[in-house]
């Protein structure tokens, strides 16, 4: 039986790997997800046959509660709410790892629940794995809940600063590691194990609270990675290879995404995690008062419709503003009316547009925009030169040319979409206010830039109607 269970775990691990492999292309991605789901089903089935599992009522109750909650979340969450949903799922993964590690600790303790005066021998590797599961799982759980709160608007999306922030957090981490080392040597210190759990949960809150809204793509990716690593650590506690493999895959995935997000902002991970950009932003707003001022030209929907009537190519640049305004369907309608006129329409998507990796792509997919029209920054950046009109919808910092030439700008060096190279740039925004980095965008003052003010959804709907009425 043990061999049958182990072989099932092996098959399940292979299905996870194949699943992620197939997730690499939009054509096979659904199949990949299905493979991974079958792998999970097999793993659960094999575990239920384990000889340790003797009672089923609690498993069934927990399983039912979780399944119903998961089902509701999966079908009730609107596509604009995906960052929150993913944030919350990360948290439950971390939470489960924490609970399993804690439970294993109690299971292995011979003096619990009844003190038998026995010696508690915990192999060092298992002790270390339990402590790390508690630490990473705890941080992931509460950190993800804070990230969820920020994305849902329940917790402030601003950068939160508190006195002695970094020394205090460093102290807490040292406290956990010190107490952890002690527990590894003297495993019967139950109070310390509970303290480590508590401090880890507090750390999650303190570490994510300072991170600002637009840095959420990094935070979510990093927490995704943590949830995987916590799973791997739990695998070490249980001595189960499948948990180690699955956790490592997820951990690697999160790290890669985190890295992509950081590169796209030209910032180090430390800088993002410590809530750094806002520092730079506030320091330079005073120095950048000399930034280019001048005339801002605006355009209304009727004029814009006429302008678009005679062009050959358009690139649309969506940003978080499109998600907030839920304008993806109106943007799809705009694409359709423009294409009907024979205009070539493409989308340029900056890696950190929105609140999580791939956020814009999912929204546009929901609005049934064909995915082959969506271009990553490096694939389209050279094409702005020979494009007639660029329409920027609710994006700001990622199209600020200051990133290319203004060494005093906090976003200097960040890769941007070169929208200013196009013949005309239309910028749809609600107002002239600054973007997340807290700096003015000199693009708005460029001679080839035209502001098209208004809520993204209203503005696009109006524009579509004007074009139809021409």
């Amino acid at each position: 039986m043990i061999i049958a269970i182990e072989i099932t775990y092996l098959i399940s691990s292979i299905l996870f790997i194949l699943g992620i492999k197939y997730l690499g292309s939009p054509k096979t991605a659904r199949k990949g997800n299905l493979y991974a789901a079958i792998g999970m089903f097999l793993a659960i089935a094999a575990t239920l046959l384990d000889q340790q599992v003797l009672t089923f009522e609690w498993i069934i109750i927990g399983g039912l509660i979780g399944s119903i909650a998961g089902l509701i979340m999966a079908y009730k969450t609107p596509m604009t709410g995906m960052p929150q949903m993913v944030g919350m799922l990360n948290g439950f993964g971390g939470g489960a790892s924490l609970l399993v590690a804690l439970s294993e600790y109690f299971k292995k303790n011979p003096n619990y629940p009844v003190d038998q005066g026995a010696i508690f021998n915990l192999p060092i590797d298992q002790g270390v794995a339990i402590i790390l599961s508690l630490l990473i799982g705890g941080i992931t759980f509460t950190g993800s809940m804070i990230a969820f709160g920020k994305l849902q608007g329940l917790v402030t999306g601003k950068v939160v600063k508190y006195p002695l922030q970094h020394p205090f957090n460093a102290l807490l981490v040292l406290l956990v590691l010190g107490a952890g080392a002690y527990v590894v040597m003297f495993p019967s210190m139950m109070a310390l194990v509970l303290m480590i759990t508590g401090v880890s949960l507090v750390l999650g809150v303190l570490l994510v609270l300072p991170i600002g809204g637009a840095d959420m793509p990094v935070a979510i990716s990093l927490l995704n990675s943590y949830s995987g690593i916590a799973g791997s650590m739990t695998g070490f506690v249980l001595g189960n290879n499948e948990l180690i493999i699955a956790g490592a895959l997820v951990g690697a995935s999160g790290i890669i995404l985190t890295n992509i997000m950081c590169k796209a902002m030209n910032r180090s991970l430390m800088n993002v995690v410590l809530g750094g950009w806002a520092n730079a932003g506030s320091a330079s707003t005073t120095s950048s008062t000399t930034s280019p001022k001048g005339d801002v030209k605006s355009i209304d929907s009727e004029e814009l419709a006429m302008l678009l009537d005679s062009v050959g190519s358009v690139i649309i640049v969506p940003g978080y503003g499109m998600a907030v305004g839920q304008a993806q369907h109106a943007v799809r309608d705009l694409t359709n009316v423009l294409e009907k006129k024979g205009i070539k329409v493409r989308f340029a998507i900056h890696p950190v547009a929105g609140r999580m990796p791939g956020h814009m792509n999912v929204l546009l997919a929901e609005a049934q925009v064909s995915y082959d029209k969506l271009y990553a920054m490096e694939d389209i950046n050279d094409d702005f030169n020979n494009t007639d009109v660029v329409i920027v919808i609710g994006a700001n910092d990622v199209v600020n040319p200051a990133a290319r030439h203004d060494q005093s700008s906090p976003i200097f060096g960040m890769p941007i979409l070169n929208v200013d190279y196009a013949k005309t740039v239309i910028i749809n925004k609600r107002s002239m206010s600054a973007g997340y980095a807290g700096i003015d965008n000199e693009l708005f003052f460029y001679p080839n830039a035209l502001m098209y003010f208004g809520d993204s959804k209203d503005a696009m709907t109006k524009l579509v109607n004007e074009i139809k009425n021409l």
């Binding site: 991974a36 999970m40 498993i59 399944s67 489960a96 997820v250």
Partner: protein
Amino acid sequence: MEEYLFLMHVYVFALAIFVGFELITKVPPTLHTPLMSGSNAISGITIVGAILSAGLEQFTISTILGLIAVAFAMINVVGGFLVTDRMLKMFKKK
């Protein structure tokens, strides 16, 4: 024997990380959100540990922790796979 087993686990962990890096660098940006939710569902594999705790013969604190862990991991598994499928269904080429 104990040390040998532990080393085997480290071995598996290191190789799996490399496999993960190889596979995931090939995922295009357009699929990054489904990749996250899908990998989230996979990290629900902690359900294995949760079941081993919740299914103990005797009812102890481990059972309670296991019960909550089963619920948490199951949210991850069911929510993660279903929402990923819901998203991927929308990715169409015309």
